[in-house]
């Protein structure tokens, strides 16, 4: 199998850019919604890992 490293690096960079866009979207959600609302969603993620 011949791996095209350039193609993979391009994909990694594009994924990272997309992650940053999601973080911006989520931070804006946190800013514009009640603490109770966003924390309920975040807690599902955290409690499932910490419990």
């Amino acid at each position: 199998m011949k791996i095209n490293k350039e193609e993979i690096n391009k994909e990694i960079k594009a994924n990272f850019r997309e992650r940053l866009e999601f973080i911006k979207f989520w931070a804006n959600y946190v800013k514009t919604h009640k603490d109770e609302d966003w924390s309920e969603q975040q807690n599902m993620l955290i409690n499932s890992q910490v419990n």
């Binding site: 989520w26 931070a27 603490d35 109770e36 966003w38 807690n43 955290i46």
Partner: protein, 196 residues
Amino acid sequence: MEYNINKKEIKLDRKINELDNFVIEFCSLLDKYVLVSGYVSILFGRSRSTEDVDLLIPEMNLEEFKKLWKKIHDSNFECLNTSISEEAFNMIKEHNIRFSRKEKPIPNMEFKLIQNDIHKYSFENKIKVILGKHTLYISPLEMQIVYKLMLGKQGNEKDLEDAKHLYELFKEKLNNSELYKLLKELDAEKEFELIK
């Protein structure tokens, strides 16, 4: 969420999770400390968890350390590095030591002494977070963002993402002159361009 810049105080009405409970319980045993790094982003909503929480405390002598050690162990926490207080006291001068709830290594508290200028800055400029009926102290946001960018230099995307979350959330309230000063001092201007 309300950030009072003059009072250096943030009020949060978030629902408490298991990680918060761990941090609140542990920090209630300490007189002076500051929380730094990933947990600060998580406290303000970052969509991830962590296995360790970083905390800085002022340097202390052996007697003070032993007193704190007893208080921690009496409260159902234990040190993951050693069960001997003198050994832990010597270790902490060289590297972090970890505490967790007894028999539950995750999550754990990475306990560090305030030893360098970044630590001192974080402690001296700490922000009070009022979380319901609890109080926590965290590193100033400008330093938190820049420090995470600095860690991101080594290619750790998680750190850059933590910085991005805090920046997006607080950008209208940050002290920009302080932020740019720290970016320059800690050589993180290039990384800032990636996330702003």
